[in-house]
Symmetry: C2
Subunit: 367 residues, 2 copies
């Protein structure tokens, strides 16, 4: 049985301590207790998460003077400036101060909006992430990216604000429906392709168990994926070339989410399509057929949802508007082999467009 | 004739270059030009400032590919999350990217909201302040504090985000009405009390000319006040004890603004009252009567507007809600002598309340 894992992520303003896996709530109790002691604590969460796991969190945060629960809508709908305004107003009303604490408790969107509130409330207060979905445990909770959406573009308002603590307990994953695990696994596969061939092999071998939420397999996968992300973020906090590796599958993925419509295409599925497309792009450069086949085969076994018919021009336009785009043009993350990838800037759009056209019409396999 | 001044403020992520005084636009042109070259540039401004000085800015920013003008309401009304949403939407629509540039052009409130937009647009882009009021030149443009208001509390949503450049040209001050100069001079006096007895003497001697906007006196005062603030911020970017010195007059000042109503009591007048009150508090500790008299006399010569009748309980409550307040209680900045002050935490409220009561009823002189 896995005993779980502790990691420290060092960044420009200090460090983040992460507890991962079984018993993370228990293992973090002493450190969280002294961090919270005598403080007002604001918990940003969603109603379903509070209902399912609220008691566990209350037990874990027993050191706080008072917990103020603040609920936002689940999913991308909750990530709005209106939610930021509502939450910060309630914090002011409840006497929030600069040395108050904030805890996000939920999936990635709750973490994103809660983290952004922590970054801008009275110009920044300390906070912790307690992620309750697989996707949030392996991705959103690590690295200090916070933000909300504008109708025109996801995550277009935000900040880099590192949490002081991350508590990713396996226990809260047990209530996840299979579909949410499947969505989260796309980011685990991304981590494996980028930097951990052993993790990739584990997913290949135990995909069925993982999708069923088998606890030991899932803990092992989460710990490995977290370690990949921590290593990349620690090397490069603010999206130089190292951190941009984490955008594997996201250049196209974000554009697909925008074009299909937020909430209509899940993030994991979008990244799944983005990775399949990146593998094809990479194959045309320097990715060996054998590794490309393994990558494509695994992503396909995870069954990314079929895309509706999409206007290629709109997808291209959405890529241009994506926040990753610089004046200098789009950048792509392309696998080199299992466990290694590179960031490529300034690909000729004429090379990308035809492949995109055939991908969107589903004929990429014969391309 | 003053030749103007250049200063560099070093902070944790790099440095800010400031050009102050006569000819600042001309002196900054080359550096701004290379910073803007080939970029999309967003100018956050207000309609009156654009009308009065827009051409000068266009000339100063000649290196930009395209200028996109974004207008917000002048004054505290413009400092809202609604304005942030409107400006960022327009930036997305106009193709704003991570390496686009933002320039704030106006008074302190335009700088605050524009700087906050720069801090959170795509998680942060580079920006410059071009302040056009005395208050903004000597205070708001220096130090990287940005933010907007909630109805319940000023500056309660914001970020520390240092500008890359500050261009404080004397020329734009020539259109300022006397009243705006008077408001700005309260912050100049604050700088003098904190750290520059020579500047204090200059204001004592030339107050009438300063209020009339006499160019040479005003340039000298601006340069000295900017130097005080730069030195304090460079020593301590994020409100440790050094930077908290800048709150002289603001513990009570902010509370007065909140209680009277934003827009109904000007910031300078509020800080004027806050300084008079701090001088009285300080006199009861260790400030010599002679320096206290000089401070009070100068602030009174600047004629802070009379306060309406105020409920002392409401003022106390507003002080508790001020963002400077920590769970541990209020802190006060108290002058020790001309050119030196200290931060005092945890003053007994029983010592402060009676003095506040007599100050608010106008009987402080006999206290």
């Amino acid at each position: 049985m896995h005993q779980g894992q502790e990691l420290d992520l060092f960044h420009e303003r200090g460090s983040t301590r992460l507890w991962i896996g079984p018993g993370a709530f228990d293992r973090s109790r002493a450190d969280l207790g002294s961090w919270l002691k005598g403080r007002r604590v604001f918990v940003v969460t969603s109603a379903p998460v509070r209902r399912l796991h609220g008691r566990r969190l209350t037990a874990a945060l027993e050191g706080a003077v008072s917990l103020v629960w603040l609920e936002v809508a689940d999913g991308e709908d909750g990530k709005s400036l209106a939610a930021v305004e509502q939450v910060t107003r309630e914090m002011i009303e409840a006497g929030g101060k600069r040395d108050s604490r904030l805890v996000t408790f939920g999936g990635g969107s709750v973490g994103d909006v809660g983290g952004f509130v922590a970054s801008c409330f009275l110009r920044g207060i300390e906070y912790a992430h307690v992620p309750t979905t697989l996707l949030a445990q392996v991705d959103a909770s690590i690295g200090g990216k916070t933000g909300v959406n504008l109708p025109q573009a996801k995550n277009s308002i935000g900040a880099f604000h590192q949490p002081r603590f991350v508590v990713s307990d396996s226990g809260v994953l047990s209530t996840l429906p299979r579909e949410q695990i499947r969505q989260g696994l796309f980011e685990v596969v991304k981590a494996a392709i980028l930097a951990d061939a052993k993790l990739f092999a584990l997913i290949e071998q135990r995909l069925a168990e993982l999708l069923e939420g088998e606890r030991e397999a899932l803990s092992a996968a989460v710990e490995a994926a977290v370690a990949v992300k921590v290593a990349i973020v620690a090397a490069d906090e603010r999206e130089g070339d190292r951190r941009r590796l984490l955008n594997l599958g996201h250049t196209l993925g974000h554009a697909l989410e925008t074009t299909v419509g937020h909430g209509l295409l899940a993030h994991g599925d979008a990244v799944g399509h983005g990775m399949l497309f990146a593998v094809e792009l990479a194959r045309r450069r320097r990715l060996a057929d054998q590794d490309a086949d393994r990558m494509r085969s695994l992503v396909e076994r995870m069954e990314p949802v079929a895309l509706p018919e999409l206007d290629r021009e709109k997808v291209l336009e959405a890529m241009g508007r994506d926040k990753k785009a610089r004046e200098s043009g789009l950048s792509w993350v392309l696998p080199i082999r299992l466990g290694a990838a590179e960031v490529v800037d300034g690909l000729d759009p004429r090379d990308v467009e035809p492949l995109l056209a055939s991908y969107l019409t589903g004929s990429v396999e014969s391309a």
